[in-house]
Every structure is written in C-alpha cells, then in structure tokens.
Symmetry: C2
Subunit: 226 residues, 2 copies
DNA sequence: TCCTTATCGATACGCTGTATCAGTCACGGT
DNA sequence: ACCGTGACTGATACAGCGTATCGATAAGGA
C-alpha cells in the first residue's frame, strides 16, 4: 500500500519518550547483540520499557521497522566528499565506507539485499553513486549499467563474505566442523579443482578478496566508460 | 555441530513413504506457492500427510530443511557441458543457467546469499566454475579472485533484480504506490542525477541489466587473466 | 465545562519451532 | 519360537512470535 517514509508520526500529545528514531535505535542495538532474529516487536518494546502495542502507533508492521532500520543504517555510511578524485577513487571510497558499516553491523547485509533502498538515506546514497559515475555526454543507459554492476558486486560480495564466516566461528577462523567436512567432501576425487584450491590456496583475507574483486569490476566499468 | 549432508537418514524399517527427497520436494512446492515464509515444518508435514514431529527423524531443525532445499535447487541448475567454448562463453552459460533457476524460484536467491554452498550440488557447481576459469600456469589466488568477482556479481545482481520487482507487482510492472512515491521523493530537487535517470532512463529490462553487468565483470576478469 | 478523538494498556488468537514422553512395532539373539 | 531391546511414531505441551481487538483514559477544542 503506502510507503513508511510518507506516513507521518503521530502528534505526541501524551508522552515525548517514544519516536521513530528511538525505536529504530533500540532495534539496532538488539540486532547488534543478537542478529536480525533478535529484533522482535516485543524485544524492542521491552528495551524501551513500553508495551508492545505502543509501537504500532509509529509503525504498521515489523516490516516497517526493518525498512526504517535499513535506512537508518544506510545513513551510518559516511558518504565521502563529492567530486574529489576521479570516478574510480570515488567508487572505491564509497565501497570502503559501505563495507565499514556492513562489517560493524553484519545483519545490515541481508537488509541491504532484501529491502528497497528508497528511504531518504538510501536515495542520498544512490544519488551520490550515480553522480560519482556521471559525466557529460554519458548515455543514461551506460550510467545505469555501471551503477548496477557496482551495486550488484558490492551486495553479492558482502553476502559471500558472511558465508565464509559461518555462525559460531570468529572472523577468519572457520568453524572446525565445517572445515573438516569440506576436507572430507573434497577428498573424494570428484572435485579436483576444488581440491587443488583447498590445499594450495591459503585462506582468503576478506578485505583482500573484496578489493581484488572490486578492482575487477572497476576495470570492467572503465572499459565501458571510455 | 555436524553438517546435514553427513548425517545418514534413518533406516526405514517402518514406512517407505518419507525420505529427504520427498520432504525437500514438498518444501520446494510450498516455497513456489508462497515464498520461503510458507516453508514451515507444519506445512511440509501437512503436505506429506504426516505429523510435524515425524520430520525430525530426517532433519535436526528447520535450518537443515532450508540447507537441503538450497542444495536441491542448486541441483536444478543445468551445468553446461564442461570444456566447450572459451572461458567467457562458459561463464556466460553458467550465469544463464543460474539465472534461469533463480527466476523460476525467486526464493532461491535469498537462500543463495545466506546458506553455505557446501552440499553435493553446491560443490559440483563450484567445481564447474573453478574448472571453467582454470588454465595452466594461472595462480590460485588469481583464480579465486576471478571466481569471487563472478559469484559476487551473480548473487548481488539477482538480489537487485528482486528488489526491482517489489512484492505485489508483476514482473516488470512496479507497484504503483512505490513508483509514485519515488517520483515524489525525487522531485524534491535534492537528487538531480536520480531525477535525470528517472525521467530520461526507460525502465531497465531485467535480462538486459543482468547481461550488461555480466559483460562488465567478464571484461574485468579478462584484464586480469592475461 | 462538556464532548470528541487520539492514545494507551491489556487481553487474546493463531501461528511458529521444537522438547518431551508414552506407546508400538520390527528386528536380532538365543 | 520367543522375547528383550531399541528404533520409530504420535500426541501433547510450551514459549515465543506478530498483531487484532476493545474498554479505559486523558488531552484539546467549543
């Protein structure tokens, strides 16, 4: 039906303690502590010392809450100063700022991939990205394709990064059960290339993998932009 | 703890009607009908005409079920014949086969981005991908980076594709509420580049966007492989 | 001062994943 | 042939979830 960001908050005649920023902040704290599953309306309400149904004066549903949380977290991404450096440097800086927030709030990655980025901060982010790529005489289609490739890689790679750090494992230290299973599965001989990688290749550092892939994408964009 | 694919199914002394493939098939049917949310243990059990707790002889949790569903759906991806064409053609074919399945089962996209691809079909998929990129003398690191960029883009772009087809809208026909909201939000003047794209740029066809971005990534890989 | 209307607090419903436990059936050893 | 044993089933139960509903309440306008 309607869109969260166009629904006004109620005039607070009664009590000033509850507004959307407070609710979203509580939700974010819960997410940081226990992942998105921990963001329950009851949990948020309890953290604000309020009854659950009170939240429905500010939200229509839990989906609204997650939309607001996604946009608020997007707002945490510090957009670099516009217009400095060439487009490559600008895109690198944007990616770095995004990854920074995504590493601080792992749950944000799945929001990023599943919620339309149409909140105020999401729009600002997109505006910055398109402006960074834009140049006089560039066809709109080319612009969209380049932004698409960049965003697609960014979102996908962040997902992959989380997959490599399975639950219950500290960063860069895979869960031993999964690792030994992999060794066994690959040892069967039916996956020779995987086996080679598994034995020869050292574990990829997340940052290294991200940046290498990013350069690949930037190279591809460069080939199209000239 | 342990990994689903290494846990044996129980010896079926009593009844032959229930095994993992049947359970996963039921789960897939439910997902096709109502998305991942519709895949509940009670729903799967009802569809198999069985009491819910019976499933726990074959699974440890709902997470197991989703892991199995993800791998089974990965198995639907028809891996092209190995070794035909150059690496570019091979990667294009793999991407096309993947997108085909993802479009048939939209829910698969979020599984793809959130479940480790370590089931038998997932391993086969990765083996195919790495083998398609491999060549004599290529450093393992380069191989990993290229595969990483490809997979990252693939997963991210599929997510983006779903975001552009919001719930309640048929494919390529955005929900009108969201569209008119966007028009209003962009008209504020604070997003000039977005505004230009919104008015000048025609709606991107999903397939076109995907393929354009893929070529960008392939170009980038080519620049690194030589 | 009274009425209207927005807000609050509480209760309740249907749904979820899954722990528990008593009953039952099929098999293996003797 | 029998019977103990252990695997498997079916039923019930519990805590948690999102949220619909509704009477009580308190504030603002006349």
């Amino acid at each position: 039906m309607s869109v969260v960001w166009e629904r006004p908050e109620p005039s607070r005649r009664h009590r000033p303690l509850l507004d959307r920023p407070a609710i979203v902040a509580a939700a974010g704290a819960l997410a940081d502590a226990g992942g998105l599953d921990a963001v329950t309306l009851r949990g948020v309400a309890a953290r604000l010392d309020v009854l659950p149904m009170r939240l429905y004066r500010h939200l229509d549903s839990r989906d609204d809450l997650l939309d607001l949380l996604a946009d608020a977290t997007c707002g945490e991404i510090a957009l670099p100063a516009a217009g400095v450096g060439d487009w490559r440097a600008r895109l690198r800086a944007l990616a770095a700022a995004t990854v920074l927030v995504a590493r601080r709030h792992p749950w944000y990655v799945s929001l990023l991939g599943s919620r339309p980025p149409y909140g105020p901060h999401g729009l600002a982010y997109q505006e910055w990205l398109f402006a960074a790529l834009d140049r006089p005489g560039l066809a709109v289609t080319e612009l969209m394709h380049a932004a698409d490739a960049f965003l697609g890689y960014l979102i996908g790679q962040l997902h992959l990064e989380l997959l490599r750090v399975p639950a219950g494992a500290t960063a860069h230290v895979p869960a031993p059960a999964q690792l030994s299973y992999l060794a066994r599965a690959v040892a069967g001989g039916r996956h020779p290339t995987l086996a080679r990688i598994f034995t020869e290749g050292r574990q990829l550092h997340a940052t290294e993998a991200f940046e290498a892939g990013l350069e690949i994408v930037l190279d591809g964009i460069a080939a199209r932009l000239t």
